[in-house]
């Protein structure tokens, strides 16, 4: 498949991921354009996190294929192009905020000066500049989350895979997060984000509703509302997920 140059950052077809008998992702097709903010929505267990991990190259596929920026997985070269923020904190609690950021910067061969410059901007953005030299273990849950996001951003990758980046972040800061995400988008970089917050989903360029490991609907937020004739995304989502079950009951 010719992925590069066709404008897609993520191109996945028929993705399947099984854990024993359990199928976490069940034939997922996903296309994310370059420079797009794509939101994956769905309840717990819908397969959002598994999808993100597949795109990071962390999981071996049970079926289907995925291309990132034109390269077919698995290909370790995609690692340099991805900024991954896992759902769990995934930081070194015994290191300071600075040391965590520096570590992830050093992995991507950033110079000391580059790290310091970017760190300054990032700490402003996550609103923790005065916590630079504090141990991450001493920060609150929300603060850790923000540091974790900064760690995913430090090497300025063209694709960001963010698994629930705004959990535990207060509404005001969440707004500034989205301003930042839009800035990234304006630079032509791509973001795939999973979230529970429907108000947030409305800020994405496109949304995919996930349910039982499948994509049940996809489109711009406005389109989805129109399609379902609903007032908000929550109801729109409900109307999609309810459908197959109704069919089953019949």
């Amino acid at each position: 498949m010719d992925g590069d140059g066709n404008g897609y950052m993520v191109e996945a077809s028929g993705l399947v991921k099984r854990y024993g008998k359990f199928t976490a992702v069940d034939g997922l097709d996903l296309r994310v354009k370059k420079g797009e903010i794509y939101g994956l929505l769905g309840p717990n267990g819908a397969g959002k996190t598994t999808t993100i991990k597949i795109l990071c190259g962390l999981l071996r596929l049970s079926g289907g294929e995925a291309h990132i920026n034109g390269r077919q997985l698995p290909d370790h070269r995609i690692a340099a192009e991805i900024g991954y923020m896992p759902q769990e904190t995934a930081l070194y609690l015994g290191l300071t905020v600075h040391q965590n950021l520096a570590f992830f910067g050093e992995i991507f061969k950033l110079s000391k000066r580059e790290i310091e410059e970017r760190e300054k901007t990032l700490l402003e953005f996550i609103n923790l500049p005065e916590w630079r030299d504090e141990l991450v273990g001493n920060l609150s849950g929300g603060m850790k989350h923000r540091v974790s996001l900064a760690c995913a951003l430090i090497h300025q990758p063209p694709l960001l895979l963010l698994d629930e980046p705004t959990v535990g972040v207060d509404p005001e800061l969440r707004v500034s997060f989205w301003d930042y995400f839009n800035g990234i988008k304006r630079e032509g970089r791509t973001i795939v984000i999973t979230t529970h917050y429907m108000d947030e989903a409305g800020r994405c360029d496109r949304i995919g509703f996930m349910h039982n490991g499948r994509l049940v609907a996809e489109g711009e937020p406005g389109e989805l509302l129109q399609m379902t004739g609903t007032e908000n995304l929550e109801d729109a989502f409900m109307s999609f997920t309810a459908r197959p079950e109704v069919e089953v009951e019949r």
Binding site: Y19, K53, C56, G57, L58, L59, R60, H76, A79, A80, I82, Y84, P86, Q87, E88, T89, A90, L91, Y92, L93, G94, L95, T96, Q99, F103, F104, E106, I107, F108, L135, C151
Partner: protein, 379 residues
């Protein structure tokens, strides 16, 4: 040349340890603590054991000499550092004390001890061998052996003093270690044991943390691969292991006055190699634990075999033959053997290469398995 990628991990692990006072204390203080505890407890040998002496000997007169008492001579030759002698008149009272555990042994000289001995030495008719009655509590082997040795030594010394020639004699020459003290022998062993135990424990716990906190997956989602991570840890812990070995040697020299005849840097290299094996083992074992608490459960299986089978306290030859193959599966065995040969006998690499090859092979195997154990997380 570009800096190897794994050094990023090495640097981070060092930073982590530097920030963590507890781990730092474990690395620095624990080996010294282990050396002191074992060194002081084992190093002194058996001392001040209460032994009763019942001397009923009435003496005797060898031909052409005045009256002497052989029993007194023997008693005076007993090593009073090992034995704390207490004189009792009555044989039955002495036996009762041994039976009650008030003393470890009773040495009883019968009334005709000297005269029997004298007639026996002079081949007089009717003479029989003079016998010392030696009532010994053998329930504590170490103490019993020490007492027996003290009594035998005293007998030999006395025989020598009274001018009786033994028909055969043994001339012992120390090929190595003429002045070896217990600590000289012990420090190389404890170096290997402490480095093995602390390295395995520390990587095990740290790595369970990497797995559970999600940092391992996060690293694997970057340009770091499994090999970089394992090598990064290996580099860290080989350096730490060497540092610990130096520290132990320093304390051993300053406090316990140990003597080292060989090239200590060769010994440090052996210990560093052991640390690489140990950290790989720690990473490997971490895959069996889902939580940090579960990591503790594998500890007895890490510590005890090494403690008992690797030749730190007693030679592998003292381990039952059927169990001995297990000794050769325990990594510290080779490091103990090699560092002892280097430090006590002054052996060079030409004579310990088998140990080095064994450690290198173990390192290769465990490092590979450790890398594979991380890869399988990508299922």
């Amino acid at each position: 040349m570009r800096k190897p990628h794994f050094l990023t991990v090495t640097k981070r692990v060092f930073r982590d340890l530097k920030n963590d006072k507890r781990s730092l204390a474990l690395i620095v203080i624990a080996p010294i603590f282990i050396m002191f505890v074992f060194g002081l407890a084992f190093g002194g040998g058996v001392k001040n054991v209460k032994v009763l002496v019942v001397n009923q000997d009435q003496g005797g007169a060898p031909v052409g000499a005045g009256s002497i008492s052989l029993s007194e001579k023997i008693i005076s030759n007993l090593d009073t550092e090992v034995l704390k002698l207490e004189y009792v008149d009555d044989r039955d009272a002495a036996l009762a004390m041994v039976e009650n555990g008030d003393a470890y042994a009773a040495i009883i000289f019968p009334p005709d001890f000297t005269s029997e001995a004298v007639s026996s030495m002079n081949d007089l008719p009717g003479g029989s061998t003079a016998t010392i009655e030696f009532q010994l509590d053998k329930s504590n082997i170490n103490v019993a052996n020490a007492i027996t040795k003290a009594v035998n030594d005293a007998l030999l010394a006395t025989i020598d003093q009274v001018g009786v020639q033994m028909p055969v004699s043994v001339d012992t020459v120390a090929v190595f270690g003429a002045d070896v003290k217990f600590m000289d022998f012990f420090v190389p062993g404890i170096m290997a044991f402490a480095v093995y135990m602390i390295t395995t424990l520390l990587t095990l716990v740290t790595f369970v943390g990497e797995r559970t906190s999600g940092t391992l997956q996060r690293m694997l989602a970057t340009t770091l691969n499994e090999r970089d991570i394992v090598l990064g840890y290996a580099a860290t812990f080989s350096l730490i292991g060497m540092g610990q070995a130096m520290l132990l040697l320093l304390v051993g020299t300053l406090v316990f006055d140990i003597t080292v005849v060989g090239n200590v840097f060769l010994a440090f290299l052996v210990i560093a190699l052991l640390a690489v094996v140990s950290q790989a083992l720690g990473i490997l074992l971490s895959s069996t634990a889902k939580r940090e608490a579960q990591a503790i459960q594998v500890l007895p299986f890490v510590v005890l075999p090494a403690f008992l089978l690797s030749g730190i306290f007693w030679p592998i030859e003292a381990i039952p033959a059927w169990l001995r193959p297990l000794s050769y599966l325990v990594p510290p065995t080779y490091a103990v053997d090699a560092s002892r040969a280097i430090m006590l006998k002054g052996y060079g690499i030409g004579k310990i290469w088998i140990d080095i090859v064994a450690l290198l092979a173990m390192a290769a195997i465990f490092l590979t398995l450790a890398v594979l154990s991380l890869s399988t997380r990508k299922d």
